[in-house]
């Protein structure tokens, strides 16, 4: 019954092809066909930010984005940040600051931080708090996440 489109896009720096179900989200495609489990499903309605990915340089809730809309885009997921030369400074900052407890919100937090820093490498605490307002964390109380976001700024790689 389901209708699929063949789409081509760049995923974490590599060209990929996929059969995208017109009724499915980018989140489902990434978690399903590409086994990119770092992009988390936590609410499925754009309220928690756990599924945040970067599409053409902008952060998106992948749960709200139709999979077919990935056609022709450049997509970055949390898995794309760990490269042969090491983990991303944002990931390292989250580890060093103690910004991770259960870790379920962490990929979304890291991707949103990555996006914020791409726009402004010198975030103030207030800018980081506003920028991460749409990402829910139930463990940390956000303090160490904000510290990580600010601290990663000066050494961001991209």
């Amino acid at each position: 019954m389901s209708l699929t489109h063949k789409i081509t896009f760049a995923l974490n720096g590599k060209p990929v092809r996929a059969d995208a179900d017109v009724a499915s989200s980018a989140l489902e495609l990434l978690r399903g066909a590409f086994e990119l489990g770092g992009t988390k499903l936590a609410c499925g309605e754009g309220e928690c930010g756990a599924c945040t990915i970067i599409v053409d340089g902008r952060s998106r809730n992948s749960c709200l984005m139709p999979a077919v809309d990935l056609e022709g885009r450049e997509v970055l997921t949390v898995e794309g940040l760990w490269r042969e030369d090491g983990i991303d400074p944002v990931q390292q900052a989250f580890v060093d600051e103690g910004a991770i407890q259960c870790g379920f919100c962490t990929p979304g937090m890291i991707m949103q931080t990555k996006y914020l820093l791409s726009r402004n490498p010198d975030l103030t605490a207030e800018e980081a708090e506003r920028g991460l307002e749409g990402n829910v964390c139930r463990c940390t109380g956000y303090k160490k996440i904000i510290a990580a976001a600010i601290g990663a700024g000066t050494g961001a790689r991209d």
């Binding site: 060093d96 407890q101 829910v136």
Partner: protein, 770 residues
């Protein structure tokens, strides 16, 4: 050149979490991410009624749907029940008692097929009379929720100590108050999920988020019709738990039934909406408190009666009075105390356990009440609390020895750092002044168990240790990791004893077939209990190594030490041989060969409560004081929390990073409880099952935090530490309520302090309109 290695302690060092790098790069596979070969998905059909008799269930259309592998109802189950009172059948066959009730379940190749099949199941009901509040449920002629409990009382606890009449007679003032605390829910970022897998011999492996692995074996087995020994519990990483996973809930046996029926692994995962509707809540309570004091502020008696809305079934929520009672009878020195709690069946959703347990509720009521009492006799909130603070080593009315506590220090530090009294007096004086924005400061304190809680015959934890030929250490602990940082603290404690780097320590903590027994992760017990067991097992291994090293070096074992991967002379630090070399020499010693392997089972020196609620149930106790400074917009009713000063008795700091993380996160959760979070339940139905309508704290709403750790050095705790994780969630909300009063003269007894509620209360308060 002789190499000298100084003693280098790990205790108190800032250490990052062992599991953090894998979580940062998404190598961690959570239970929500699990896929097994040939795995099916499962879904539950829930009722849309709150109290009804089931007349018929027609599953034929669902069964005929291609791709559906199984459809089950109550008649497909062995009939055993789950829950604290074994009153909850996983699938309901005759009556539904609350909105979340499970009627049928399906297993199919995809989640979408499951949803389609669920929609094809037809259920006919006959509605029954409903009751939603405790008082109505206790009235004569109220609808009966469970036939075997015609009075609708699920559980009752009573305690009395001293002479209440004498306390009343000694009182110069008596203050009465009523406090209704509300429904909130955990909002774990990882929704409820389980995977069940049967083998050919009738044994079942359950992958689950449980915090209580060994008791779950016992609790789930009767509902499955299997022996507890045939249940293997595996705990993959979870997206938060916070007490939500202490009991067995219906979805877990349902998933097992589906796996048994299909002979395939089945994964059952909630939607977020389902998580809001069908997870146990924090226990709501209606408190009534009467308490007396002398003119000088000395407390004379305290009487607390409470009703708990139990909902349709009995989970751990009904047992929260065991913790509430400790606060009501023992927080501050009160010579005469009485406490009564009744958990009353209604047609609401049922409550479970939630970080802080009954103490979040108790501390809201008690600390609001304490502020009212202080005002009644014209004392400031600090002086009144100090006047009645528990001293160290006090024996409480329930027979606990509070040991090395420092409630006075907590209050004094929080008050001094926040300049509390100057601000408090100034704010009080400013009540009558015009102005839309009012500043307020408030304090609250709490008492909590900090060395486990002996609610079973044992509150112990087992640990096994092995070392290999390369001096790598494996710790197999009974303790569970739910993101709170157990692995890291155990590695730190073991590294301290064995002089090895933390990265050389592997912690195995997730499989009941491998691990020795442990109660579970609850009651702020894990660092204390699992930590002590890890220290003890490491000391056994250390002794074994030092005995062998002594024989090789012609020295005595107590002249040696283990430092930085070496056996050293303790006095001088002179390196004698690498640790891995002595381990290999022990291993390849012919007939004398030995491997370093050790086991330990640590039972804390605490005792279970007896039938009269007497007993020193924890090996340690602790306090925290929180001061909150707020600005109230009297027109909009919004409360901006500007800063929180926390002073907490932590015993001893093992890892400041982990400690800060627990306290900061606990405060955020407590702020939500006090300010914004409420699961709105009207006539048994959940009205706001989404993050959009259920407001947890976000980053910009967090105030500045000032944390003070008070180190009392517990004689029993690992390196002197106490359990710390629940107190921060417990204390903060009443400090904000008290600050609201200090700012405006308006007292709100029933949280949360939402803008609407605050604005209405201020508008109703004469003289402050404007």
């Amino acid at each position: 050149m002789d190499k000298i290695i100084e003693k280098h302690s790990m205790i108190g060092k800032r250490v990052t979490k062992l599991d953090a790098p894998d979580k940062a790069v998404a190598r961690t596979r959570y239970i929500n991410d699990m896929v097994l070969p040939r795995m099916l998905y499962g879904k539950i059909l829930r009722t849309d009624r709150v109290h009804a008799r089931i007349l018929s269930i027609d599953t034929s259309a669902a069964e005929a749907l291609p791709g559906v592998q199984a459809v089950i109802t109550a008649k497909d189950t062995p009939g055993g029940k789950i829950g604290v009172l074994r009153d909850n059948p996983p699938l309901k066959g005759d009556v539904v008692r609350c909105i979340r009730d499970e009627i049928a379940a399906v297993a199919a190749e995809t989640e979408e097929l499951c949803d389609e099949a669920i929609r094809l199941i037809k259920v006919e009901y006959e509605d029954l009379p409903t009751v939603f509040d405790c008082t109505s449920a206790l009235a004569n002629g109220a609808p009966i929720i469970h036939e075997d409990r015609p009075d609708n009382i699920a559980m009752e606890q009573n305690f009395e100590h001293g002479d209440m009449a004498e306390g009343e007679a000694q009182s110069d003032f008596v203050v009465e108050g009523a406090y209704n605390v509300h429904y909130v829910t955990h909002c774990n970022m990882g929704v409820s999920c389980t995977v069940a897998d049967y083998d050919t011999d009738g044994r079942v492996t359950i992958y689950t988020q449980t915090q209580y692995p060994f008791n779950v074996k016992m609790d789930i087995a009767p509902s499955l019709g299997v022996h507890p020994g045939d249940v293997r519990i595996i705990q993959p990483p979870v997206g938060g738990a916070f007490g939500s996973k202490l009991d067995v809930y219906p979805y877990e046996p349902i998933c097992v039934f589906l796996a048994k029926k299909t002979r395939r692994p089945v994964k059952l995962i909630y939607s977020r909406e389902e998580e809001f509707i069908a997870s146990p809540t924090r226990q709501p309570v209606e408190f009534k408190i009467r308490a007396g004091m002398k003119k000088d502020g000395t407390l004379t008696f305290r009487d607390c009666d409470s009703l708990l809305n139990n909902g349709g079934y009995t989970s751990w929520g009904a047992t929260t009075p065991y913790v509430t009672m400790r606060t009501m009878t023992s927080h501050y020195t009160v010579p005469n105390v009485r406490y009564r709690a009744r958990a009353v069946y209604t047609n609401n959703p049922f409550a479970g356990s939630f970080r802080g347990y009954g103490n979040v509720q108790a501390t809201w009521a008690l600390e609001t009440h304490m502020d009212k009492m202080a005002e009644k006799i014209g004392m400031d909130p600090i002086a009144f609390r100090l006047k009645n603070a528990n001293p160290p080593n006090q024996i409480t009315p329930q027979g606990s020895n509070l040991g090395c506590i420092d409630l006075v220090g907590c209050i004094e530090q929080a008050a001094a750092k926040s300049d509390f009294l100057a601000k408090w007096h100034a704010n009080n004086k400013a009540w009558a002044e015009p102005g839309r924005f009012k500043r307020g400061i408030g304090i609250a304190t709490s008492l909590h168990n900090a060395g486990g809680a002996k609610i079973h015959k044992s509150d112990g934890c087992g640990t096994m240790l092995k070392m290999d030929d390369y001096a790598r250490v494996t710790i197999i602990t009974g303790g569970s990791e739910i993101g709170q940082g157990l692995d890291t603290v155990l590695a730190q404690l073991v590294a301290e004893e064995l002089g090895v780097p933390m990265r050389d320590i592997t912690i195995i903590n997730n499989d009941s077939a491998l691990r020795p027994w442990d109660v579970g992760v609850h009651a702020s017990r894990t660092t204390y209990i699992a930590g002590n067991s890890a220290v003890r097992v490491a000391r056994k291994a250390r002794d074994q190594i030092l005995r062998a090293a002594a024989a090789h070096t012609n020295m005595l074992p107590d002249m040696l030490d283990l430092r930085q991967g070496h056996v050293v002379q303790a006095e001088t630090g002179l390196a004698l041989m690498p640790l891995d070399r002595i381990l290999r020499q022990m291993h390849f010693a012919g007939a004398e060969a030995e491997l370093v392997m050790a086991t330990d089972y640590y039972e804390p020196p605490s005792e279970p409560e007896d039938a009269n609620h007497m007993g020193d149930m924890s090996a340690a106790y602790s306090h925290a004081a929180h001061v909150a400074e707020i600005v109230v917009d009297t027109r909009l009713g919004t409360i901006k929390v500007e800063k929180i000063w926390s002073a907490q008795d932590v015993g001893r700091v093992i890892n400041p990073v982990g400690l800060e993380g627990q306290i900061e996160g606990g405060i955020a959760m407590g702020l939500g409880y006090g300010l914004s979070e409420e699961l709105k339940i009207v006539e048994g139905k959940v009205l706001n099952p989404s993050f959009r309508d259920y407001h947890v704290m976000t980053a910009p709403e967090m105030p500045e935090l000032d944390l003070t750790f008070i180190e009392t050095g517990d004689a029993e705790g690992p390196a002197g530490a106490k359990g710390i994780a629940e107190l921060p969630t417990i204390v903060i909300a009443p400090a904000i309520g008290n600050a609201l009063y200090n700012a405006t003269g308006v007292r709100i007894d029933h949280p949360p302090l939402t803008p609407e509620k605050v604005a209405r209360a201020i508008a109703a308060h004469k003289g402050l309109l404007g």
